[in-house]
Symmetry: C2
Subunit: 125 residues, 2 copies
């Protein structure tokens, strides 16, 4: 299970950086929830989750996982990764800690992202 | 609030390394829960939490927070730290990711620790 969860985590970060959106959505269970950042109203179900990731799909972006931060126990994982998005005039860098819970088939059932305004780095593109 | 939460997080890691146990317990709300690691039955309430940290108090130990991993948003925090414990013949190093939720007074209401067997490093002391 740990091996399978690690694969999904690595695939998730890769897909957030390059898409396609549908492949990200496929990592989630049908009734999954996404709280990004944690404390905001959860998006529930694949339609809401698709809508959330579609915003990213329109941006030039890249991601990398911090491999030494991946923590896996039972059906839970936590990890840090870097997301860089480039819009017309801004380059935004974010290093969230995400936590995920998985079902027995290795699909994400809950994702919660920890990052605040202090963790956004905005530079001219 | 973010400043207050950061202080509690830093104080928590310091106290886990040096105690006293009662000072750790005081960082928690009366009905708080601790899941360490996540997926194990939660310890609920200060008595159960005290019992949990008392185990640590009998070990030689040190801790350090990884300051660049501290993520704070609303009443939530996530961070990685290092815990080294030295028993008679073993030195055990662990780098968990902890997530915490706080009440309006800045007390911890839920703590969940992410680490698995793969994250324990055991060496001769």
């Amino acid at each position: 299970m740990a091996r399978q969860i690690r694969d999904v985590v690595e695939q998730y970060v890769k897909l957030v950086g390059s898409g396609p959106t549908e492949a990200i959505v496929d990592l989630y269970a049908p009734d999954a929830t996404v709280e990004d950042p944690i404390g905001t109203p959860p998006k529930q179900g694949r339609d809401a989750i698709r809508e959330f990731y579609t915003v990213l799909a329109n941006l030039e972006r890249e991601t990398s996982i911090h491999p030494d931060t991946i923590r896996i126990t039972g059906n839970h994982a936590a990890f840090m990764f870097t997301l860089v998005t480039k819009a017309a005039e801004q380059r935004i860098t974010l290093h969230p800690i995400d936590v995920m819970e998985f079902d027995d088939e290795g699909r994400i059932v809950h994702m919660r992202a920890y990052w605040g305004p202090d963790d956004l780095n905005v530079e001219p593109a």
